[in-house]
């Protein structure tokens, strides 16, 4: 199963909310995948095992993993575009 990680500053609110939104959107499209929310400090430990990184903390370190804009899933602005991108990355 493909793995998606969402990271934010403390891992308590923003990343959890985005992860839950992404999970339900993928589910509606019949895409089965593991979505996990972490705090930014834990990201280094798991980044090598994920297929897509959904970022909420801008200007943070960049990784060799395809990245999607997480704030779109929080505010709804630009969400269709980012969701398309995510779906393509999970194909």
């Amino acid at each position: 199963m493909k793995k998606v990680v969402v990271a934010c500053g403390s891992g308590v609110a923003t990343s959890q909310t985005v992860a839950s939104k992404v999970e339900s959107m993928l589910e509606n499209e019949g895409i089965n995948c593991h979505v996990e929310a972490v705090d930014i400090k834990s990201l280094d430990n798991i980044i090598d095992s994920v297929d897509v990184y959904i970022t909420i903390v801008p200007g943070s370190k960049s990784y060799d993993v395809p990245t999607v804009n997480g704030i779109a899933f929080l505010t709804g602005m630009g969400i269709d575009e980012e969701f398309e991108k995510l779906k393509n990355l999970l194909k």
Binding site: Q16, G59, T75
Partner: protein, 158 residues
Amino acid sequence: MGILSESINEDLVILDIDEQDKEKVLQILANKMQEMGIVKETYLEGVLNREEIYPTGLLLGNYNVAIPHTESKHVNKNAIAIAKLNRPVKFKYMADPKMEIEVNLIFMLAISEPKNQVPVLSLLMNILSNQDNVSALARARNKEEFLQILKEKEVECI
């Protein structure tokens, strides 16, 4: 009543704040939550520190919001404190901390159990991601009207 309305305590809804300083506004909300035993005295500092590094201002359109919060260790129980500002207050933008945005509504989150709080936050964000809803809340004339709008929008968003 929905899960969001249920988790909002009327005493934690403060409308018509004239304060122009972000820290002072957050202090008003944090003090209120501390008085009620919801957060610890370290909460405000935790929020302000986090806001510097990982800001929570969200650009939504004509009216913008901020969702300041911090780690669970500063919190005793889940709650949301709300401030409606008479004049917008500058917050750093979540997507670009170098940028400042004018915020009209603040939803200050006290989160003690992140997993349990997700449905409430998701619902809140669903409501706020519709600009018409945000405008209606920003224009509410009093607390009753504000809470009534939130209740109605919650039902539409479920």
